[in-house]
């Protein structure tokens, strides 16, 4: 996972690039803590540079969604494409998460 974070008012932006996989579990948990600590109301995961994801990676988005619900922020997933987008659609993740086009 190649991660870049910025904050714009009450929106936390996390650009997750390259690959999101099982080995990123710890770093991802840290990211979620960071989002909560920032006091942001919305967290946008920009996936436009994410080339691939494994099943653990998809699970992390569900964890993020629950974490947001418990800590008062809303998760938006933006710009999924290619393999990532295909897996989201295969698992109907759009019914659970808020997905936006780029």
């Amino acid at each position: 996972m190649n991660l870049t974070t910025t904050q714009d008012g009450t929106t936390f932006h996390a650009r997750i690039a390259e690959r999101l996989a099982f080995s990123d579990h710890k770093a991802f948990r840290e990211l979620l803590k960071q989002v909560t600590a920032s006091g942001a109301k919305t967290c946008v995961f920009d996936l436009s540079q994410l080339n691939s994801i494994d099943s653990s990676g998809l699970g992390m988005f569900v964890v993020a969604h629950e974490e947001g619900q418990s800590n008062g922020w809303t998760l938006v997933i933006r710009g999924a494409k290619g393999h990532v987008d295909a897996l989201m659609k295969l698992g109907k993740f759009d019914k659970i998460l808020t997905l936006e086009e780029a």
Binding site: R19, F22, N51, S52, D54, S55, S56, L58, G59, M60, V62, V63, E66, G82, H83, K89, L90, G91, K92, K95, I96
Partner: protein, 420 residues
């Protein structure tokens, strides 16, 4: 001046006690001293005894040391460099070239001052140098460092071996979850089926599982399941699934099975963990296959009787365990003599990582379609694996499971139309 000397002596006593305490943990370590000077040997032995080391042996040259080592595995060797018969350099080289001894720390006692000479000692295989004349606190300090290091490495190796043994045991238990010879034989003997499978866990243990069950004389339930992640955590989930499956007496339609399994997994899986699954009931009498998918990689189907190739089936559906209640959809298709069903885990589509994968869904269907018409189930799997590995033996980063089922035209069990 006298006061300074007193402080110095007190400091030395404190250091000495500290070293003594450290070495107490290694009192039973076996130390071999290789030294041809009886004076130096006696001095070092006295130091070691003073620090509580109880198992000390000596040799007067490298040759004698090697003989002792074969029957008394020392934990550490202290050796001089210049000795008759076999010097310290040669002793270091011999020890390092012997697989069973190569990990032993070798501390070389040397008066060599030049850097080049000291480097040669390390090149021969020494672990560390101790300058002559030997200062007892330095000797004890270095002994402590190397005995501790050696002890930690040994513990780490033992731990690694124990974990490997346990993973081996768990692997064999997990393999037992897969359809055994008896079930496969029973299906093949009683149903018009040819089938083949391949299962390979990424680290010995994995989150994939496939299986089947005869629902009646003409109905076969077949599934392929993949828990998110891989390794020990996912493997444990396959055992949980097996418990559910074994307690599931009646399976009616695939969608109901998935809905029930979803409820079960939602109860037990932590947030973020889930499973994808494809399951189908093949009815050899009505020549229909009814399937349902929970976000599994789209299964591939070649319908017998036509000239068409493999097509991708609809794999969309909520992964299992994500939501407390999920609905699944059944779809039915013709499955007649010659029809082939090809199931696979996502490793086929994600090797190597996307977007550089060897296969995508349509690419895999095209690859199978390009195989000769008479290709057997096993040959399909072999061809896909050969393409994935490019002919090399290599480990996949994810679990690989492939199952191919064919409604055989030729087997004795094939259902005759007259049976209707």
């Amino acid at each position: 001046m006298a006061r300074a000397a007193g402080i110095y002596r007190k400091l030395q006593e404190q250091q000495s006690r500290a070293v003594e305490n450290h070495l107490a943990d290694y009192a039973n370590s076996r130390i071999l001293i290789v030294e041809d000077s009886s004076v130096v040997l006696a001095l070092i032995s006295r130091f070691l005894t003073h620090y509580g080391l109880r198992q000390i042996r000596s040799a007067e040259n490298g040759q004698a040391a090697l003989q002792i080592m074969t029957e008394w595995q020392p934990d550490l060797i202290l050796t001089d460099l210049h000795m008759p018969v076999m010097d310290g350099f040669e002793l270091c080289r011999r020890i390092r070239s012997d697989g069973s001894l190569s990990d032993i720390p070798i501390l070389v006692l040397t008066g060599l001052e030049k850097l080049e000479e000291r480097i040669k000692v390390f090149e021969a295989g020494a672990t560390d140098l101790i300058g002559k004349p030997v200062y007892h606190l330095e000797l004890a300090g270095r002994l402590h460092v190397h005995l501790e290091r050696s002890h930690l490495i040994k513990r780490l190796k033992e731990y690694k071996e124990r974990v490997a043994d346990e993973i081996d045991l768990a692997r064999s238990m997990q393999v037992d979850l897969l359809p055994g010879e008896d079930l496969i034989r029973s299906v093949i003997d009683s149903m018009p089926v040819e089938l083949a499978s391949h299962y390979e866990a990424s680290i010995g243990l994995g989150g994939d599982l496939w299986g089947m069950r005869k629902l009646g004389p003409d109905q076969l339930f077949v599934y392929l399941l993949d828990f998110s992640g891989h390794g020990v955590g996912s493997a444990l989930n396959t055992f949980r699934f097996q418990g559910f499956f074994n307690s599931c007496d009646a399976i009616d339609v695939p969608s109901n099975f998935l809905a029930e399994l979803n409820g079960f997994l939602h109860e037990i899986l932590p947030v973020g963990q889930f499973a994808t699954m494809f399951c189908a009931i093949i009815d050899f009498r009505s020549r229909q296959m009814t399937f349902s998918s929970a976000g599994a990689p789209p299964a591939l189907l070649k319908t017998g009787g036509g000239n068409g190739g493999f097509v991708t089936l609809d794999g969309t559906g909520f992964p299992l365990g994500l939501r407390c209640k999920s609905d699944y959809m059944d779809q039915s298709l013709d499955f007649m003599e010659g029809s082939r069903l090809f199931l696979y885990s996502d490793a086929l589509i994600e090797t190597p990582d996307p977007p550089d994968s060897i296969f995508d869904y349509d690419g895999l269907a095209g690859f199978l379609s390009a195989q000769p018409e008479e290709t057997s189930c096993k040959a399909y799997i072999d061809a896909v694996l050969a393409r994935l590995t490019c002919g090399e033996t290599k480990a996949f980063s994810d679990d690989v499971t492939i199952v191919c089922v064919e409604f055989s035209r030729d087997l004795p069990g094939a259902i005759d139309d007259e049976c209707f």
